[in-house]
């Protein structure tokens, strides 16, 4: 008993020390890059959304991976083929839902909205009063919070207070009523970033802050900047944060590292889309719609490819198609892919040659390597086809 009390006291002391440190250190250094005008119309635009979703990609094993949540249990069922097919489709829809991107909006400014001023009420109490409307069935955004100052002014509460009151009376799961230490202490967030826990930080950020808050902008910008330096873009691929990340880079004209990563990993269509997005944001007079349309016709959408990936687990009927698919699986590319690659390589080279690219040499090298690899694969592909006696379609 005594021991427990002592430990508790020690913990209390530690908490105090932390609090002191919190006060002493600045709450995370501000990021250098900021959205100078409202990015929301451009972000929510249907075309941009399509580009970002395509860039995010849909890897089901990534989306439905084991998480650190209380319930990770899976269910095993017997199903007919039709039921399985339906289940696949619903799974892909669910995955798309889970990959919904958090919006990128500008920082909401606090405005004073005074309802009434009553100088006769000055000093009616020694503290101010905060009134929250707890009417049943209102959304958090439309809940009214008003403050009566000690000088008798009645005004709508600031965003900060409103959020605090909402969290107090209608708590959101996982959101703290105080700033989590992870976001308050500079060394902790720096440690998270150096350990490449980008997704964790972003998820926590999304729970803790609304997208229109300055803290959200600061920390997400820091994460993206750090990511741009460490070049671990694959950690965010097929998560809901990839879209905003790509948008961030495109907005701030630093897509080259991400582009290099995409080329190196042979996601040429995504590279084209990224370039197109940056053109779109900065109003560069280059016609990209045509190339995109061509590529779209050649490539399946992420949902389709995810479905085929699921179906590939099932047994296929033997025959001509079986051999063709074996060749595809051996090389990893189809004929369509080769043509698509050609088109996209052309577009990318055009971009590298233009004045928008900053790391030209690196990109050129990557493109060259990819071209060589592709050439080899193409030769192998044709050879295999000839050997199996398949007509070139």
């Amino acid at each position: 008993m005594h021991l427990v009390r002592q430990i508790r006291q020690l913990n209390g002391l530690q908490g105090l020390r932390h609090a002191l440190r919190q006060v002493s250190t600045a709450p995370t250094k501000p990021a250098t890059l900021k959205y100078e005008r409202d990015p929301q119309p451009l972000f929510t635009d249907a075309e941009t959304q399509k580009l970002l979703q395509s860039m995010t990609q849909l890897h089901l094993d990534r989306v439905f991976r084991k998480r650190t949540v209380p319930d990770n249990s899976s269910e095993i069922k017997f199903m007919t083929t039709e039921q399985l097919e339906l289940e696949f489709q619903s799974m892909v829809e669910k995955a798309q839902h889970m990959l919904q991107m958090p919006p990128v909006v500008k920082i909401k400014e606090d405005v004073d909205r005074i309802i009434a001023k009553d100088p006769a009420l000055k000093d009616f109490a020694d503290t101010k009063f905060v009134f929250t409307d707890i009417t049943f069935g209102r959304r958090q955004s439309e809940r009214k919070v008003v403050v009566r100052e000690t000088d008798g002014t009645l005004a709508y509460a600031s965003l900060d207070t409103t959020k605090r009151m909402n969290q107090l009376y209608f708590p959101l799961d996982g959101r703290q009523s105080y700033t989590p230490r992870m976001f308050a202490l500079e060394e902790l967030i720096a440690k998270c970033l150096t350990e490449h826990k980008y997704e964790y930080v972003m998820d926590r950020l999304l729970v803790q802050y609304e997208p229109h808050e300055p803290e959200f902008h600061n920390i997400s910008a820091r994460v993206f900047e750090h990511l741009n330096e460490s070049k671990q873009f694959d950690l965010l691929r097929s998560t809901r944060h990839f879209g905003p990340m790509a948008f961030f880079y495109a907005w701030h004209r630093c897509i080259d590292d991400l582009l290099y990563d995409m080329i190196r990993r042979d996601y040429l269509q995504n590279a084209v889309e990224l370039i197109a997005l940056s053109y779109k944001i900065h109003n560069v007079p280059v016609e990209y719609q045509e190339t995109l349309a061509k590529l779209d016709a050649l490539h399946p959408t992420p949902a389709q490819s995810a479905l085929t990936e699921l179906r590939s687990g099932m047994r296929q009927p033997e025959g001509q198609q079986g051999i063709e698919q074996e060749i595809h699986s051996a090389i990893g590319k189809t004929e369509k892919d080769f043509t698509a690659d050609e088109i996209s390589l052309q577009f990318i080279e055009q971009y590298i040659a233009s004045e928008h690219a900053l790391k030209k040499v690196q990109l050129e090298l990557a493109v060259q390597t990819l071209k060589e690899v592709n050439q080899e694969k193409l030769q192998l592909f044709q050879g295999l086809k000839k050997a199996h006696g398949i007509q070139a379609s």
């Binding site: 309802i115 009434a116 009553d118 006769a120 009420l121 000055k122 000093d123 009616f124 109490a125 503290t127 101010k128 009063f129 905060v130 009134f131 929250t132 409307d133 707890i134 009417t135 049943f136 008003v146 403050v147 009566r148 008798g152 009645l154 207070t161 605090r164 009151m165 107090l168 009376y169």
Partner: protein, 126 residues
């Protein structure tokens, strides 16, 4: 004393006098109030008809006193002819839901006067 649910379990007659008032909860030296609707003749710790808010008279870390009001139900009950206890009327007046109660003005000017007097006294002694 166990809490009754906010939807209320209090029995009431249709035509009895209702009142919106405080119920003192919390404990010794730590007041906390529920703002409730109940029959006027009943003791404050009887079951209530409905809880329509809460009031924490002790200021928090940010030096603010927190009040929660279910305005929809308060409007309903006032429209039904519920009475108001003076502290509740004062609080609703401060919230801007009703006109400000004269007693609030009175405390305000008395506070101002005592402050001015003490200041004057401090000046004369200094």
């Amino acid at each position: 004393m166990s809490l009754s649910p906010a939807s209320g379990i209090g029995r009431f007659y249709a035509k009895s006098a209702k009142i919106i008032r405080f119920v003192r909860l919390g404990c010794t030296n730590r007041p906390f109030y529920h703002i409730v609707v109940m029959e006027r003749r009943k003791n404050q710790h009887q079951p209530v008809i409905e809880q329509v808010g809460s009031y924490d008279p002790l200021p928090n870390d940010h030096n603010e006193r927190l009040v929660a009001l279910n305005t929809e139900r308060i409007r309903f009950w006032l429209g039904k002819g519920a009475h108001l206890s003076t502290p509740a009327a004062e609080l609703l007046g401060i919230a801007g839901l009703l006109p400000i109660h004269p007693r609030t003005y009175m405390t305000a000017w008395r506070n101002r006067r005592t402050a001015a007097e003490s200041e004057a006294k401090a000046e004369t002694t200094a």
